[in-house]
């Protein structure tokens, strides 16, 4: 029997993604010899829920306001802050804007790991739900 932690199937209400997953070999697995473990995942995996669309949209607005982007610039979840031309002062202002908008406090170490709009939105959702 094998236990697999990985992308969820459609039976989950919200899409789930697992990060830091080691590759799993699927050779020799059939439907009847595979079990899915629906228990809490081992500590070395972090399961992060994809951010709410509403949060992503709000983050996009704050980013657009801060960076004064050219008209028609597309900002989405996948947008990387550095690719949008945000420098460090922009980034701290964005973080402050997010803190004010969502009434949260972002630690510098968390802020540093944010690369995309989606990352920021996920962090915000986690901080908001932890309140």
């Amino acid at each position: 029997m094998a236990a697999i932690a990985g992308s969820a199937t459609a039976s989950f209400a919200r899409p789930v993604k697992a990060v830091n997953v080691s590759p799993v070999s699927f050779a020799g697995l059939r439907k009847d010899n595979v079990s899915f473990r629906l228990q809490p995942v081992p500590q070395r995996f972090t399961v992060v829920c994809a951010a709410k669309k509403e949060t992503v949209d709000r983050v996009c607005d704050i980013v657009k306001k801060q960076l004064v982007l050219p008209e028609g610039t597309e900002v989405s979840g996948a947008s990387k802050f550095t690719d949008l031309g945000a420098d460090s002062l922009d980034t701290v202002e964005i973080v402050m804007g997010l803190e004010e908008a969502f009434k949260i406090t972002v630690e510098e170490s968390s802020a540093q790991s944010i690369a995309t709009v989606e990352d920021a939105a996920e962090l915000i959702d986690n901080l908001v739900s932890a309140k």
Binding site: K65, Q66, L69, P70, T73, S79, K80, D83, L84, G85, D87, S88, L89, T91, V92, E93, M96, G97, E107, E108, S109, A111, Q112
Partner: protein, 322 residues
């Protein structure tokens, strides 16, 4: 093709082809050009910093830009293209071209700008990756790059960590200065800023402090969270020295790991072209240099690589604040 591009240094011997890890496009115009990067005066000591900068808005000649593009590695080119829009793409490309040509100058033109390889330290700070097979020489060069929308600067130091930050003096923040300072700076810095009643002057002092702190964090190379701004103060003292000191309250707990915030750091702050503040920070382990210590030596060039270099330090273009 401008004939100026084919200038050779007087008395230069034909240069051997530098060791190259991977084949690059043969017959590229840039191939012989790196011989025309004149060697700058050498870095005299660990306390000397050289800064080379260019202004992207002034570089619009397509054949020049293509020439710079050819210096980049495939991954650098890819990263530049991932930037949002032609302006940011051009800046990203120029930034790498500036870095490569600048480094090449300090290797006695023995290393072609295209040959450099880079790696990141564990905190993500870029460093030169020298070939370890003994086939090429090494120089103890350290570098750091800073961008503003209108200027890209590359700082170089010998054998010591370096950080540089350039910012437009008039840069307007979206957030209020004091709330930014309260969120990110130390209490003593907030007090210092709060006492300035003129908002323009206050904004300028904020930018000065920002560039100093950024330069320090970039020199440390641990990332923004590696040395949170509110754990150390940069004080512009009356005798024009910049003192860096740990913020008393925050650093008293032994577990908060402020040990890396050692005080062996030397700063220079200058006005550049009356439009920018530039802060440079290097590590300085020399002991016994307390009062009256020799200030950091700073030389600044404006460059159009392969075309023209202009020494601007020692003129009105560079006004030392410290």
């Amino acid at each position: 093709m401008h004939h100026r591009l084919l200038l050779r240094r007087r008395g230069a011997m034909p240069l051997p082809s530098p060791p190259q890890p991977a084949p690059r496009t043969p017959g590229v115009a840039g191939g012989r050009l790196f011989a025309s990067l004149p060697s700058p005066p050498p870095l005299q000591s660990r306390r000397e910093v050289h800064v080379w900068y260019l202004c992207p808005d002034e570089l619009n000649d397509h054949s020049q830009l293509d020439m710079y593009k050819e210096l980049l590695s495939p991954s650098e080119r890819k990263n530049a293209l991932a930037m949002n829009g032609p302006r940011l793409q051009k800046d990203a490309m120029l930034s790498r071209a500036l870095l490569r040509t600048t480094l090449s100058r300090y290797t006695d033109a023995k290393i072609d700008p295209r040959s450099f390889e880079f790696k990141k330290n564990k905190f993500g700070k870029p460093e030169i990756l020298w070939q370890s097979d003994g086939s090429s020489m090494e120089w103890p060069l350290h570098f750091n790059i800073s961008h503003t929308s209108s200027l890209i600067a590359c700082g170089i130091a010998m054998d010591t960590l370096i950080g540089i930050d350039v910012e437009e003096k008039k840069r307007k923040t979206v957030k209020n200065i004091l709330s930014l300072a309260r969120r990110y700076f130390t209490p003593s810095e907030v007090d210092y800023l709060a006492k300035i009643s003129d908002s323009d002057a206050q904004q300028k002092e904020f930018i000065k402090l920002w560039t100093l702190k950024e330069a320090y964090v970039k020199a440390l190379g641990r990332g923004f969270s590696g040395a949170p701004f509110n754990r150390f103060s940069n004080q512009l003292e009356t005798n024009n020295r910049i003192q860096i000191s740990k913020a008393a309250k925050v650093c008293n707990d032994s577990d908060s790991g402020c040990d890396y915030l050692s005080e062996n750091w030397r700063f220079a702050l200058a006005g550049l072209n009356s439009s920018y503040y530039m802060a440079v920070c290097i590590e300085d382990n020399s002991r016994g240099s307390e009062n009256g210590s020799v200030p950091l030596g700073l030389k600044v060039w404006k460059t159009i690589p392969f075309i023209e270099d202009t020494l601007v330090s020692g003129t009105d273009a560079v006004k030392l604040i410290t």
